[in-house]
């Protein structure tokens, strides 16, 4: 019976968990530690890293390409909140409760089945100088046929956000639809009987009740936009002259194109810190509001 004590359960639990933990440590934690270490070294991919102190961080914050990249990443965060999340909610709300809404939503969902790179390749053919869009505009004698969509900043970042939105709207709409379906009918009925309808019903009843879905969609959107890489790499490679880079692309370029592993790692550390900070701050705020009726202080009382 002594064998059945709780400490022995702990031990056997560890024996089962050990291999899994070991794999996680080796493939997830060690690379992170190694990246942080590399960010303090000078390393060209060959030979051994040479310790360089905080030099990479100094270089990074003085590099105009990096600063441009921070601004672009900011545009991506705001852009993907406004367009795919906003329109996703709009579509979900308009189609909710309609007959045949499922079929209406399908076209919005299909692009989600494509990889980001495929979307990038398709849109770069549409948007290149003299590409499909320019030809179409010229054919209909509309203005903008000479616009160089992918060559000017910040226009190239904006059109890439639109390309990404084309892909992302559907899944956001789906998540919001599920959220709408899970709202209990009774309070809405009550509100309707009290005379609320249209915009009033949405802002005072549906929007607050939709908070759990909004939290998830917005949280995912922030994290996804911070790590934007594939679509930019496929469409402009961050160019011309690095003006459309996001932090993910800058990290890749510094590391693998310029073979400056130290600087690339510094960008990676910066990006990780920003992403974790944004997620923690946002989720903590949202979840606190979600669990109680007021501020955290009131909750603890």
């Amino acid at each position: 019976m002594k064998d059945r004590s709780s400490t022995n359960y702990q031990r056997s639990a560890w024996a089962f968990m050990g291999p899994g933990v070991a794999v996680v440590v080796i493939v997830l934690y060690l690379p992170v530690v190694y990246t942080v270490y590399l960010s303090f070294t000078e390393y060209g991919g060959l030979g051994s890293p040479i310790f360089a102190g905080g030099q990479n961080y100094v270089t990074m914050f003085a590099d105009p390409a990096f600063l441009g990249s921070v601004v672009n990443t900011g545009i991506w965060v705001v852009g993907t909140l406004v367009i795919p999340v906003g329109i996703g909610l709009f579509i979900a709300y308009l189609s909710f409760g309609l007959k045949g809404a499922g079929i209406l939503r399908i076209p919005f969902l299909i692009p989600y089945a494509l990889s980001g790179v495929a979307v990038g390749v398709v849109f770069s053919f549409v948007l290149q100088n003299g590409g499909a869009l320019s030809q179409a505009l010229a054919f209909f004698n509309l203005p903008g046929a000479d616009t160089r969509w992918l060559a000017e900043a910040p226009l190239n970042t904006i059109v890439m956000i639109i390309a990404a939105s084309w892909q992302g709207i559907g899944v956001n709409a789906l998540l919001f639809t599920v959220g709408l379906q899970s709202i209990p009918k009774e309070p809405l009925e009550a509100a309707r009987i009290d005379g609320a309808s249209g915009l009033r019903l949405f802002t005072t009843m549906i929007w607050p009740l939709l908070r759990p879905s909004t939290t998830i969609v917005v949280g995912l959107s922030i994290v996804n936009s911070l790590k934007t890489f594939d679509i930019v790499q496929a469409m402009t490679q961050g160019g011309p002259n690095r003006v459309s880079e996001t932090l993910g692309v800058t990290m890749y370029k510094d590391t693998f194109v310029n073979s400056d592993y130290g600087l690339g790692s510094a960008v990676a550390v910066f990006l990780s810190v920003i992403t974790i900070a944004a997620s923690v701050i946002y989720l903590r705020r949202q979840l606190t509001i979600g669990t109680g009726s007021g501020t955290p202080a009131e909750v603890t009382k």
């Binding site: 030979g47 100088n129 003299g130 060559a151 890749y252």
Partner: protein
């Protein structure tokens, strides 16, 4: 309990053993026949060529091709110390080769070079491109001269002939532009953003070109600014195709939208691939100099095949490298690629290149220089490609672009001293 501990320990051991196995290097097996692992960044048909070598020296190639240049470089750098290292791989001469040699990752090929140069299979000037600190590393697959490819159909349509001087070339460009054809191909990004800078700079002052690549001259030198102004003037006149276009130059030429493309002699196969025929559809002429410098500068580039120092296939790879330089292999290679063989005993496959070969061999008429992509140290090159792309997309005052390159160049050369 014990069993569990043993299990945990065994797992830990297995994981670390697997990790170590991935890192350890193997030694040369000494085999000189069999299948040779060959990692490359070229779109060339090595499988077809493998049949020739298999028949001749009993070595077949097992090629694996990387389409993405950056992924290729990262793979080679990471694999050279491991058992995954290929016996043979393609690379670039210049600064990129020096990096590998510094770390003792590529095999010394001095003895092969000695033999081949003595036998007259390769020019001594080519050997210089492969020499680092008096020793040779890697061997050439091909050596290519940069020429201007032109669309003979378009030229005939507007009664144009291949120009002999820069002024004639500009007149040809003006005529083509008037008729709605893009005179010259141009492309931004990595790798091709350097092309017109190279042509105009070397054509104006080859000495300045060489001084720039060795850090003796500054990118903000007024003479360099002048070169950029010539480039800017050509851009303003609309002489270039869209540098952001996703359509390949050969396709633009095939469609009659583009008349001239400056490239190395390896480019012939790309033109043939889209259905343009040598002699009737396309021809070549040497790119005229802008300022008379005695002889006309011609850019050359070379595609090296390198043997991994720590590979188990080192002996086989060295044997293959030597064979590839010989007349028989070069004739077969040239026939397959439609390019110009560097071995004077081998014969070019096409009349166009046989004529070109004879022209380039005329004494004192041409001076050969290493193309910008290899002549420029990597960090300066990547900065320059970005800045040139910026300059092409937004043509205007070149100063800020040159200042951008110079700031990278300054810190690079400071570190070298």
């Amino acid at each position: 309990m014990r069993i569990r501990k043993v299990l945990v320990a065994a797992t830990a051991l297995a994981v670390s053993a697997a990790l170590l196995a991935g890192c350890s290097a193997t030694s040369d097996s000494g085999a000189t026949t069999g299948t040779l692992k060959f990692v490359n960044d070229k779109t060339w048909d090595f499988k077809a060529f493998s049949k020739v070598s298999d028949k001749d020296i009993d070595i077949a190639l097992d090629p694996s091709t990387y389409a993405d240049q950056n992924a290729f470089v990262a793979f080679v750098k990471q694999s050279l110390r491991t058992s995954k290292a290929p016996g043979l791989f393609t690379w670039h001469t210049g600064g990129q080769l020096e990096e590998l040699v510094d770390q003792k990752l590529v095999a010394d090929t001095s003895s092969i070079w000695k033999k081949e140069v003595a036998a007259g299979n390769v020019a001594a000037s080519v050997q210089d491109l492969y020499t680092i600190d008096g020793k040779q590393y890697c061997t050439p697959i091909s050596v290519d001269d940069w020429v201007m490819y032109y669309d003979k159909r378009t030229f005939a349509k507007y009664n144009l002939t291949a120009p002999k001087t820069w002024d004639e070339m500009m007149q040809v460009a003006a005529t083509l532009k008037q008729n709605g054809v893009d005179p010259f191909w141009s492309s931004g990004g990595n790798p091709w953003a350097f092309v017109w800078f190279q042509i105009i700079l070397a054509g104006t002052d080859l000495k300045l070109y060489q001084d720039l690549s060795t850090g003796k001259a500054s990118y903000t030198d007024p003479k360099v600014v002048k070169v950029m102004d010539v480039w800017l003037d050509m851009q303003k006149k609309g002489y270039f195709s869209d540098p952001g276009s996703k359509t390949a130059g050969e396709t633009q030429m095939k469609d009659g939208k583009l008349a001239m493309i400056p490239f190395g002699t390896w480019y012939a196969s790309s033109l043939e691939k889209v259905g343009l025929k040598e002699g009737t559809d396309w021809g070549v002429f040497t790119i005229p100099a802008i300022v008379d410098q005695g002889s006309t500068p011609v850019a050359i580039e070379t595609a090296p095949a390198c043997t991994t120092e720590n590979s188990s296939q080192k002996a086989m790879a060295l044997k293959y490298s030597e064979w590839w330089m010989g007349a028989e292999a070069q004739t077969a290679w040239s026939k397959q690629q439609g390019n110009l063989p560097f071995n004077p005993k081998a014969q070019a496959a096409t009349q166009t290149f046989r004529d070109l070969s004879a022209e380039l061999a005329e004494p004192d008429k041409y001076e050969f220089y290493l193309r910008y992509y290899e002549a420029t140290p990597t960090p300066i090159l990547t900065s320059a490609l970005d800045q040139f792309t910026g300059f092409m997309t937004n043509p205007g005052d070149p100063t800020k672009y040159l200042e951008g390159i110079q700031s990278t160049a300054k810190s690079y050369w400071a570190k070298q001293k």
